[in-house]
């Protein structure tokens, strides 16, 4: 089983998001970076599949040279091979990103065994475009399921489940295929020490795919107005319980 997992380097924002003075980016001077959460689970899922069925997990990212850090994170979790698609400093939209992934899948197929399964996150934590996986599937002519929380691979088939509005939707289709997953599909492992050492030494394939502009053009970013106020303190400890009950009553939530 040849699996490619597409991951994205995103800022680790904690207390609040700050926009740069020119309004064009998130200020990351004070933040670290990590793999977007859904994709961290995609890496874990791919590693688990190859542990059961054998095969190779390739991890791909499109980003700056520093995104090699996130590739090494994935390698330390058990991925076997890493490819860095250099972004060349351009702002890559979802269609161009998908085109670069499609081209990488074709390049890999031309060199030897192509990918059987492409895993992505349902949406990137930062841009939240909700479409790269679907566009990749169309580019390759492969079936695609999104938002998956449970994945079974058997023989040449995929059984993928997700929950939607209180019901479970099950999709069954053949490989090769594209699946986007959500956090909750598994609990990602922590990297082992040997894993870290292996990742540190691993070679990363690297090249720059062609960029193209697209039809959704960002003008600026802003933090939405938030009603920021101090909470009214009802009291301390169990002494506050009567006041809390009066409040619940006022809010109309007591039956």
């Amino acid at each position: 089983m040849e699996i490619a997992v597409c991951v994205k380097r995103v800022p680790q924002v904690g207390g609040r998001i700050v926009v740069t003075p020119d309004g064009q980016d998130v200020d990351t001077r004070m933040s670290g970076f990590a793999i977007s959460p859904h994709e961290e689970c995609a890496v874990e899922e791919a590693v688990q599949i190859t542990e059961r069925l054998g095969g190779t997990v390739s991890v791909l990212t499109l980003g700056p040279a520093e995104a090699a850090d996130q590739l090494r994170d994935a390698l330390s979790l058990g991925a076997h091979r890493a490819v860095l698609l250099e972004d060349g400093g351009h702002a890559w939209g979802p269609a161009a990103t998908a085109a670069a992934i499609v081209a990488e899948a074709r390049r890999r197929a031309a060199q030897g065994p192509g990918y059987d399964l492409l895993l992505l996150g349902n949406e990137a934590a930062d841009t939240g475009d909700y479409q790269v996986g679907v566009r990749v599937a169309h580019g390759l002519g492969w079936p695609c399921a999104t938002g998956i929380k449970h994945l079974e691979i058997s023989g040449d088939g995929v059984r993928a489940r997700r929950e939607y509005r209180g019901r479970e939707e099950t999709f069954e289709f053949g490989l090769p295929a594209v699946v986007t997953v959500k956090e909750g599909i598994n609990l990602p492992r922590y990297p082992s020490l040997p894993g870290r050492l292996r990742a540190k030494r691993a070679a990363i394939e690297q090249y720059q795919p062609p960029w193209q502009p697209e039809g959704l053009r960002m003008r600026g970013l802003r933090v939405p107005d938030q009603p920021r106020h101090e909470a009214t303190v009802l009291g301390t400890g169990t002494d506050a319980v009567p006041a809390l009950i009066r409040l619940l009553d006022e809010l109309g939530v007591l039956k």
């Binding site: 904690g14 207390g15 998001i17 926009v19 998130v26 979802p94 949406e123 939240g128 909700y130 479409q131 679907v134 599937a137 169309h138 002519g141 695609c144 999104t146 938002g147 929380k149 929950e163 939607y164 509005r165 209180g166 019901r167 479970e168 939707e169 099950t170 999709f171 069954e172 956090e183 909750g184 609990l187 039809g215 959704l216 960002m218 003008r219 600026g220 970013l221 802003r222 933090v223 939405p224 009603p227 920021r228 106020h229 101090e230 909470a231 009214t232 303190v233 009802l234 009291g235 301390t236 400890g237 169990t238 506050a240 319980v241 009567p242 809390l244 009950i245 619940l248 109309g252 007591l254």
Partner: protein
């Protein structure tokens, strides 16, 4: 501008998210939110076409009419049974020429996002996800504002392309019927049974649906959510929260640390990578309030916090707070509520 809007149906009729999407779509048609359809320069009334998948006799046409829908296209189960994202997108693509639509709108749900992503791929057009506002610019493009970081950040952008493809953030636009012409009932739009021209590949991925789960309250729609975070201390600490939630007719929701520690299942997570909640009351216990968590509960009507730390970030977003240990306060609250009953 003529607009096509995907209408998702559930057992109760039209989903809340789709009513929000229709409200948004209507503002594109009329240019002004809430106003009844204006007349285009060539004298024709603009079209807001609703597209639904299900039995034609279950379409709540009058309700759709009250939201400004002028035409309904329905694909019946005999033609296409169940959810097949690419086939739904192909259906919308086919209706573009029928309705002369300049924009296609869907709710920013799992279904709506996925179908519009397919439509973007089929038409080669860009798609703007989770929009909160859109207005036509003089040059024929759309000026859109959309959520990034699950709503923690807003992107202002120009959307080029015909048709313009947009999903609507499920927590940003309130569902609002069109202002009725005084004395007149909202017109009931005609319902056209539509047979889309599908490609066999459109049906490769099709959902088999489980039965609806036994009438439990869902996290996304609960009136009361009792939240538990790191301060709960471990998997054994949730029993009093569960008991409180059940006394208040609500459910338990948790922060990301709780699910990543494996204390509770991920289905209970509130936040950017979990569920967005919209309760009347969110009672957040032992939760510090990371912004990814606040992205999931920002639409709660009232936030009440129980926390030992009076400087926890969540207090600056809450309405009321009890400074104290949830392991003491919650059991005392449960006991007092039981005594009261």
């Amino acid at each position: 501008m003529n607009v096509l809007c995907l209408v998702e149906l559930d057992d109760a009729g039209v989903t809340d998210a789709s009513l929000r999407a229709l409200t948004f779509a209507r503002s594109l048609v009329t240019g002004t939110p809430g106003e009844p359809g204006a007349v285009t320069p060539d004298g024709a009334s603009p079209v807001l076409a609703g597209v639904a998948f299900g039995p034609a006799d279950r379409i709540p046409a009058r309700l759709l009419g009250s939201y400004g829908v002028t035409e309904v296209y329905v694909v019946e189960p005999a033609t296409l049974d169940g959810y097949a994202p690419q086939a739904w997108a192909r259906t919308l693509e086919g209706l573009l020429s029928v309705t002369m639509a300049g924009a296609v709108v869907a709710a920013g749900t799992d279904c709506g996002s996925e179908v519009l992503a397919h439509l973007g791929a089929l038409t080669g057009q860009p798609m703007a996800a989770n929009c909160i506002a859109a207005a036509p610019a003089a040059d024929g493009t759309l000026e859109v504002s959309r959520q990034r970081w699950a709503g923690l950040l807003i992107e202002d952008a120009i959307l080029e392309g015909t048709p313009a493809l947009l999903t609507v953030a499920t927590d940003a636009v309130a569902p609002q019927p069109a202002v009725a012409v005084p004395g007149a009932e909202a017109a009931e739009p005609p319902v056209h049974v539509h047979e889309p021209d599908l490609d066999p590949a459109d049906l490769r991925v099709q959902a088999a649906l489980s039965a609806s789960r036994d009438g439990g309250v869902s996290l996304a729609s609960a009136r009361v959510v009792v939240g538990g975070g790191r301060g709960v201390g471990g998997p054994d600490g949730f029993a009093p929260l569960e008991e409180l939630a059940s006394l208040l007719g609500g459910v338990v929701g948790v922060s990301r640390v709780v699910t990543s520690q494996g204390w509770r299942p991920h289905t209970q997570q509130v936040g950017q990578t979990g569920t967005k909640i919209t309760p009347e009351l969110y009672l957040a216990c032992g939760i510090s309030g990371a912004i990814q968590h606040m992205a999931g509960c920002a639409s709660a009507k009232h936030i009440v916090v129980v926390n030992t730390d009076p400087s926890a970030p969540i207090l600056s977003r809450a309405d009321y707070a009890v400074i104290g240990d949830l392991a003491e306060v919650i059991p005392a609250l449960v006991a007092a509520l039981k005594e009261r009953a």
